[in-house]
Symmetry: C2
Subunit: 253 residues, 2 copies
DNA sequence: CGACGCCTTGATCAACTTCAAATTTTGTGG
DNA sequence: CCACAAAATTTGAAGTTGATCAAGGCGTCG
């Protein structure tokens, strides 16, 4: 997705040991990834002056609909869910974000969705104004944010196809495939078997797929009985063949 | 949505009669809107050197999945639908674009969806390289494109809620409300009644809503019988009260 | 242990789809 | 302008999928 065109825009990446890079950033896993990865040491210094790290416990809110947003964050670890709520309580998860995604609707003081920690989440936060000043003055910063937005848009549209046109089984398979691709999975000796923890509980999966919790449960059982997945426990999934799981995302009937 | 923060970034808008503005742009309805609206006369000149205008007939393809894209376009009039197709033929419209939207997945040579004219469409096209060079060298250009991407992302997520959690009637009402808000409607003497042409046929509405054509037809009939809309003919809709239509988008049962 | 949260399973029901056909609208050529 | 064919839409009846309602199981924590 990232093309070689981008490489030209980036300031040549300096060695991690370069003393220009601020201390907080030097040991950061996101240092070379996501938005931070395309910043110059100078910009990192400017940013790091206002950086704070936070841990959010699972199910706590990072951004509330309607509230003014004063910070943006880099996700260092964990999974964040973006949810929309209807007046009568119906809920839809409209996006999942993983490290090292950038969190926050830039150039807008209000969010039209809330962001909640699906798992425990560690973030590196920056005041809104610092990010926006940097975006205004540093084209590479705005470009990095733009790429992040484009990635989210591609993912949202892919999910629209899932929501609008896939069957319940295909939806659940698509969800498992999404997680398998985004969580760093343990690869088994038999290099084709992968294993991972689900970051969402059944109700959240239902809210992501536009289904009910019962239907999600039944489809998981169905995928298990058909041998496409195995369950070590409710949260731990083993995928013997990623190709077979992928096939289940779009079943020719 | 556009905030006053943006105003500061924009070069002060020059008078339309300013001779610096190229001829093709001077008479253009999009001149002050969309991406072009935030360009300087110099940038417009640079862009206009490579500008071509096209008309696409309804149902013709502007962008085909998998094909390399060599141009970006500004929509001058008409409606463009972005569609995704599954191997077995299931189809989902993942976005609708209206004038003066910018069309094309920037910074990527391939599109993961196709773009088709839903109605006759007039566009102003630019070679990919010119746009991307401009985006690289002119921060205000990239910012304008970024704002467009953010707007599309907000719309996509709003629609994910519709696809995932709304009933068939609510979906159709939401679609009509979307069109009423994006097509410039005729306002009746009685200032509350609005009237517009549907840019999509029933099958396309179904593909946008994740429904079948029959269900769409039945829901339209239902909305008509309940007095929320009137039909002048298959394509012409009259909305006596926009507030009532909005209410139908999210019905407390 | 007992209560609670979470997940699964079963039975029934409603919403939406599918299949089929009728009806209306649109386009074309004489 | 009419006749006719093709396309689009509507309507009806039956079938399916997934939702709802209800109950029970499992694991954790006080």
């Amino acid at each position: 997705m990232q093309s070689n065109k981008d490489a030209a825009r980036k300031t040549p990446r300096l060695d991690v040991h370069n003393s220009d890079v601020p201390l907080v950033c030097r040991a950061c896993e996101s240092r070379h990834k996501g938005v931070c990865g395309s910043l110059t040491p100078d910009q990192l210094v400017q940013l790091s002056k206002h950086t704070t790290k936070h841990v959010y416990r699972s199910q706590s809110e990072l951004i509330t609909v309607g509230d003014d947003v004063h910070t943006y964050s880099n996700i260092l670890s964990g999974v964040v869910k973006l949810t929309k709520l209807m007046a009568d309580g119906r809920q839809q998860i409209v996006g999942l974000q993983f490290a090292p995604d950038f969190l926050g609707r830039i150039f807008s003081s209000q969010s039209s969705y809330s962001a909640e920690a699906a798992t425990d989440v560690r973030v590196c936060s920056f005041p809104k104004s610092v990010i926006e000043d940097l975006a205004r003055s540093a084209p590479n910063m705005e470009h990095a944010l733009h790429e992040q937005t484009l990635k989210e848009l591609d993912e949202a549209r892919e999910w629209m196809l899932t929501l609008g046109r896939k069957t319940a089984t295909e939806k659940v398979a698509s969800f498992l495939y999404l997680i398998a691709s985004n969580i760093d999975p343990e690869l088994d000796d038999d290099e084709h078997t992968i294993r991972f923890e689900l970051p969402l509980k059944r109700l959240e999966i239902a809210d992501f797929l536009g289904l009910t919790i019962e239907t999600v449960s039944r489809q998981i059982t169905k995928l298990r009985k058909s041998g496409i997945i195995e369950l070590e426990n409710n949260r731990t999934v083993i995928v013997p063949s990623l190709a077979r799981l992928q096939g289940a995302c779009e079943n020719e009937q």
